[in-house]
């Protein structure tokens, strides 16, 4: 099989795992203002042992991009300098919260704010980066504003933030009890609706405006629009139905929502393929040196399955509702 396609799949997989895993812990940070002091601590305890592993998937995806498509890596990071640094600064601020919040006495307000702001800015920046890449890194109007402040990039920023909120509330629902669980259930339902509406707005108001979508994929795009409507409606329905059912189905809802995201994500990739930066670079044009791709692929093929096994194991060690507040 074509090396470029294999590596594209590895990166696609890495980004998806990242979005789900760091998605829920970033989402919890965005939801912070809606949680009480005690609830915030419970929420933080539910992710303190996994956030570091979750963030590693971003480094993995980034490094895979460097190996496989160095042109994309250098073009994207060089062009999107400001949102990339915004994201990194934000991730620093929220990352250190896990280390210091539990040990803080007087400064807890600052750490809470740092966690909320860091998570929100990081999620939003990731969305604007995605949006800018989909725009082909250059808007077709005169460059009055930087590409990452284009309305489409901002819309993607909001969409990603809402996606993470949904994941975060679903995660909390699985990992907490009684009052907080109920509260998260209600937040999750609202977030799923909000997510679906925002998806439709993004697809209908923006995708028509892309020259690359119009010219190269016009047929696919038109049918895709309708697919999005159907898929969005269907998945919103079944996810919410699963979530409001009286049986304890929160894990199932989480998985359903992940499936929902996967379908949208694959649809988007299908639209862009074989470009990696629309209208600029196809995966074959951006591909790195073959020998290096092969060498690194051996590592991925041998080690990634092992990584997945112990990642699942470490999640299992801490799974289940917390038995008591000081349960570690």
């Amino acid at each position: 099989m074509d090396l470029a396609i294999v590596w594209l799949l590895v990166i696609v997989f890495g980004i998806f795992v990242y979005a789900i895993l760091d998605g829920f812990d970033l989402g919890i940070g965005i939801l912070y203002p809606w949680l009480s002091k005690q609830e915030r601590m419970t929420a933080l305890h539910s992710i303190k042992h996994v956030w570091d592993g979750n963030e590693t998937w971003m480094v993995f995806a980034g490094v895979c991009l460097l190996v496989a498509f160095p042109k994309v890596y250098s073009l994207v990071l060089g062009t999107l300098y400001i949102p990339v640094f915004l994201m990194l600064f934000a991730l620093i601020f929220r990352g250190v919260v896990f280390e210091y919040r539990f040990k803080a006495d007087r400064s807890s307000v600052w750490w809470d704010f740092s966690f909320f702001a860091g998570s929100t800015i990081a999620a939003f920046s990731q969305g604007t980066i995605l949006g800018s890449v989909l725009l082909g890194l250059q808007a077709n109007t005169e460059q009055l504003i930087p590409i990452w402040l284009h309305p489409f990039s901002l819309a993607m920023g909001s969409l990603i933030a809402i996606t993470y909120c949904t994941l975060g509330s679903l995660w909390l629902q699985i990992n907490t009890e009684s009052m907080l669980e109920k509260k998260c259930n209600s937040i999750a339902n609202k977030m799923i609706v909000l997510f679906s509406i925002l998806c439709l707005i993004v697809v209908y108001s923006f995708f028509g405006g892309f020259t690359w979508a119009e010219e190269a994929f016009v047929a696919a795009f038109i049918s895709y629009k309708w697919i999005v409507l159907v898929v969005t409606g269907f998945f919103s329905f079944i996810t919410i139905r699963s979530n409001i059912s009286t049986h304890n189905q929160s894990k199932k809802t989480f998985l359903l929502f992940c499936g929902y995201l996967l379908i949208l994500y694959l649809g988007l990739l299908n639209l862009v393929f074989p470009y990696i930066i629309p209208e600029q670079l196809t995966i074959w044009e951006a591909m790195g040196n073959e020998n290096s791709l092969q060498f690194a692929l051996v590592g991925v093929a041998l080690l990634l399955p092992i990584v997945l096994v112990y990642t699942v194991y470490s999640y299992k060690v801490f799974s289940g509702k917390p038995d008591s507040a000081g349960a570690y």
Binding site: M41, K48, H49, V50, D52, G53, E55, T56, M58, V59, F60, G62, V63, C64, L66, V67, A68, P70, Y73, S74, L75, V76, L77, G78, Y81, I82, V84, F85, L88, F89, L91, I92, F93, G95, V96, F98, E99, Y100, F102, K103, G288, N289, N291, S292, F295, A296, G299, V300, L303, L304, V307, Y310, T311, Y313, S314, V317, F318, A325, G326, Y328
Partner: protein
Amino acid sequence: MELDPAVLSRIQFALTISFHIIFPTLSIGLACYIAIMEGLWLKLRKPVYLQQAKFWIKPFAITFGMGVVSGLVLSYQFGTNFNKFSELASPVIGPLLNYEVLTAFFLEAGFLGIMLFGWNRVSEKIHFGASVVVAVGTILSAFWILAANSWMHTPAGVIIDNNQILVTSWLKVIFNPSFPYRFAHMLIASFITTLVVIASVSSYYLLKKHHQPFAKKSLGIAVAGLVVLTPIQAFVGDLHGLNTLEHQPVKVAAMEGIWETEQGAGLRLFAIPDQAQAKNDYEIVIPKLASLILTHDTEGTVKGLNAVPADEHPPVAVVFYSFRLMLGIGVFLLTVAYLGLWLAQKGSLFSNRYYLTILKWSAPLGFIATLAGWYVVEVGRQPWLIQGLFRTSDLVTPLPAERILISLIGFVIIYTLLFGVYLYFFKKLIRQGPEVISSGNTTEVATSNIAKANGF
């Protein structure tokens, strides 16, 4: 004044990597220390070992966390500020970093949670296993990152075809000529740095008459470790220097402050290098000694900086002074270690207040020496980014200077703030001291104490 984007990008990279390297230096050493203490506890069942492990896990956790967040920045900075480098060198650097993520980062992250929070979720043996895995992860991470870094100093296993780097042998790339020395030198540096920190904290307790059995144990271990490691480090450092002389003679010339090629070169104890005039002012020289050390012959020839054109000179003063600082601290720590051994034989290691006070204030020395060592190595490679092949100034991202200035100011503010916070919490943990662990029912007592200490 016109700001040079290339210079700004280099300052930013130097700042971020200097800040970052402080934390892995300590976390590599602490991870190994904790794993060893846990192993000793499983074997000997003496509570003091469990106490060591449980106490040092807390400073380890905040140190590791700082390493993660500051390291994240670095993995993207190749692309943001040196995007021509990331594109050009990706055939070599990319796979090495990829292996680092797969063999080290995931491993550390996967087992760190169990190590920090898994005390009563998994069995003692699995917990010990998790601590060992985390320690191995930190060392593997150093392995890959130093392989990549060494390759930039002594590139091997590649051919340059049409300005593209193509790998011909991965073994030669990874085990490039300077890698074994650099890897050993850095690992020992991090062990020494950690032992000095442990000795410093132990001395602080002994001076304050707090937690005495605990502090005596760790001070004993730290001094014993330093007695073994400091001479080994001097030896490895010497080998590393000889390797550098073979592959990067200009760097050695800068370290020694030798401008004109000399036969029977003297060792400059002090000098003020003058880059513009290509000479030193106010030299104090010990005749023939540099030749003796570098070539093991008093009449050996040492190549001077002027053997290459002036535009291939690194910033000599930085290299020259950093080298002396590193060496000076090395000699000081070696002396301190053997002074400790002598006091231990006299039976006054734990009671000599002068010695304990020296140790107490020595905590930052290992870090300063490590940083100085890195400046020797990295500044000494300039103007090359990949030695002899590509210049730094040709591989930076063509960015507007203001944009880099903004991110640079951001880093200065954030890192200053973070470092203050880190030190504050580090001190707080030290002041709290180790948990009391009774010999019976050890695990339960310890865990409930940890839960209390964490505010629940």
